[in-house]
């Protein structure tokens, strides 16, 4: 356990050094939050309810999403893993005496912790100053949200890990990764909340894993789930975490076999 904590801490610190980029990103997040907020206001000037959200919900959704973006790392391309596969450096990663998936997860969690503090909280606070936002109604709800946030991060990691390993089989995977990234952005609820989608499209989104990375935790924040519903939502997250991490292990084993056979 001590090892994982050390890895996370190191990753946290590493990302903390990029002060300029963090500040700049924060500025951008906040601006985008405002733009989206006014779009929501324009929509809700016409109706009081869209897909079960009222105006306050929608505004809160916008700012929590902006804060959450970097935590789940929506914009990451295939990223480091893919680059290391192509350069061959991945070999050193595989020969470390620690499980590669767990190691990568620890690194990602360290990063996510930093992003949560540095970029997750401020946009929400700024939004809350200007608009009338919703907040979790009780400490239990806060705890549920934090749990959901962690699950979302792990699920997102699971997905990115898979995409990254694809580099073992697809020589230049930037193209496919971009298309997947687009799907991710749309179906996670980043562009618009999933419950705003027309019926059929929403149905599609609800069977995909992406929703648990953004939409579900934010809905928990908004207090849309209580009691059994809340348990169900968290269970859905856990389900996808298990599926994605499990698939990750299978693919990792296949990749390591491939490396041994082909020599990288």
């Amino acid at each position: 356990m001590g090892l994982w904590w050390a890895v996370m801490k190191r990753s946290f610190r590493r990302h903390a050094t990029y002060r300029g980029a963090t500040l700049a990103g924060l500025f951008t997040n906040t601006i985008f939050g405002f733009i989206q907020a006014y779009v929501m206001l324009a929509i809700f000037s016409q109706r009081g309810d869209v897909g079960g959200f009222d105006r306050q919900d929608a505004l809160t959704y916008v700012f929590v999403t902006q804060g959450f973006l970097m935590v789940i790392n929506v914009f990451a391309g295939p990223g480091e893993i893919s680059a290391r596969v192509r350069s061959g450096d991945i070999v050193t990663d595989f020969y470390r005496p620690v499980d590669f998936q767990a190691y990568s997860l620890a690194l990602d969690l360290g990063r996510a912790m930093f992003q949560a503090l540095a970029r997750g909280v401020p946009p929400f606070l700024v939004g809350a100053l200007v608009f009338d936002l919703v907040a979790p109604s009780s400490p239990a709800m806060v705890a549920a949200f934090l749990l959901a946030a962690v699950l979302a991060t792990v699920a997102s990691f699971g997905f990115r890990f898979l995409v990254g390993l694809a580099a073992f089989w697809i020589l230049d995977d930037r193209g496919p990764a971009q298309i997947l990234g687009v799907a991710w952005m749309f179906f996670s609820g980043f562009i618009l909340p999933i419950n705003f989608f027309p019926g059929p499209l929403e149905a599609v989104a609800r069977v995909l894993p992406f929703q648990v990375m953004l939409q579900v935790p934010v809905e928990i924040f908004l207090g849309k789930y209580t009691g059994a519903g809340l348990a169900g939502a968290l269970a859905l997250q856990v389900f996808w975490v298990v599926v994605l991490l499990g698939a990750g292990r299978v693919v990792l084993a296949a990749a390591m076999r491939k490396l041994v056979i082909q020599g990288g």
């Binding site: 733009i35 779009v39 000037s45 562009i191």
Partner: protein
């Protein structure tokens, strides 16, 4: 000037040939870009599935805004946005070799980092624009017809200027890329909706940076929305101000860039 365009053409073509070596990525990237921007518009379509108008603008009218702004942004993205790469080049030490050549570094950068895939975005925006122009209920006088290319070109200049100015910051500070995104992609985002939905301070910022003149203000003329113009206190002449704003933006951008290069040459970054 013609010379510069010719050289730009050669350098950009070389870059496209180089990228074409990685064929699958090339095609997928281009499709991916079109897809991303399609989703952008899909979001608007989804919204209009729930409401009939936004601030009194119909779907066709918002699509007109989207198409005009997207085309202007797409042009700037295709031909100028590559300038953003200067900060990476400075970090890698690959910037100096541009100063060895008998050409301006701005021209070289935007040509050498030319990315064909950005045409995906442009194509999508132009398609939406075309459809919107057919769908929108407008009495097409000569003035209005001429306004369309004029606003696209002015928009191209304005967004291009924003790209150049925000990229110039890289010469003074490190890691400004994300900051620039607030103005480039943020600006593009704002032009997708009628400016009236935003808070007064945001509208004023859009006016100041010229973003409002990319598509919104000229659209008021094309779509005949005089009431709205008066509501925001815009005198009638501003409807035709886009070309002037575009020119001013371009001149300011060139000046900022030159100052940035001067700074680089005296401090060696």
């Amino acid at each position: 000037m013609v010379e510069a365009v010719r050289i730009y053409g050669h350098l950009a073509a070389a870059r496209v040939r180089a990228d074409w070596q990685y064929r699958t990525s090339f095609v997928l990237f281009t499709l991916g870009q079109a897809l991303i921007t399609f989703l952008d518009f899909a979001a608007i379509a989804v919204i209009f599935g729930r409401v009939d108008v936004i601030e009194g603008w119909s779907l066709a009218e918002v699509a007109f805004l989207y198409g005009a702004g997207g085309t202007a942004f797409g042009l700037a993205d295709c031909f100028i946005s590559a300038v953003e790469r200067c900060s990476q080049r400075i970090k890698d030490g690959a910037f100096d070799r541009l100063l060895i050549r008998p050409l301006g570094p701005l021209l070289q950068l935007s040509a050498e980092e030319f990315a064909f895939r950005r045409f995906g975005k442009l194509a999508q925006a132009m398609t939406v624009f075309g459809i919107a122009m057919a769908a929108v209920d407008v009495d097409w006088t000569l003035g209005r017809v001429l306004m369309v290319p004029s606003m696209v070109l002015a928009g191209f200049a304005i967004f291009g200027a924003i790209f150049v100015i925000t990229s110039s910051l890289a010469f003074w500070t490190v890691d400004t890329q994300e900051f620039a995104n607030a103005f480039t992609y943020g600006g593009n985002f704002m032009t997708q909706y009628p400016l009236g939905i935003f808070a007064p301070w945001m509208r004023r910022l859009a006016m100041l940076t010229g973003v409002a003149f990319v598509n919104y203000v000229p659209a008021l003329y094309v779509l005949g929305r005089d009431g709205e113009r008066e509501r925001f206190g815009l005198p009638a002449w501003t409807l035709f101000a886009s070309p002037a704003v575009g020119l001013a933006a371009a001149l300011i951008a060139v000046w900022v860039w030159r100052t940035a290069i001067r700074h680089y040459r005296s401090t060696g970054s």
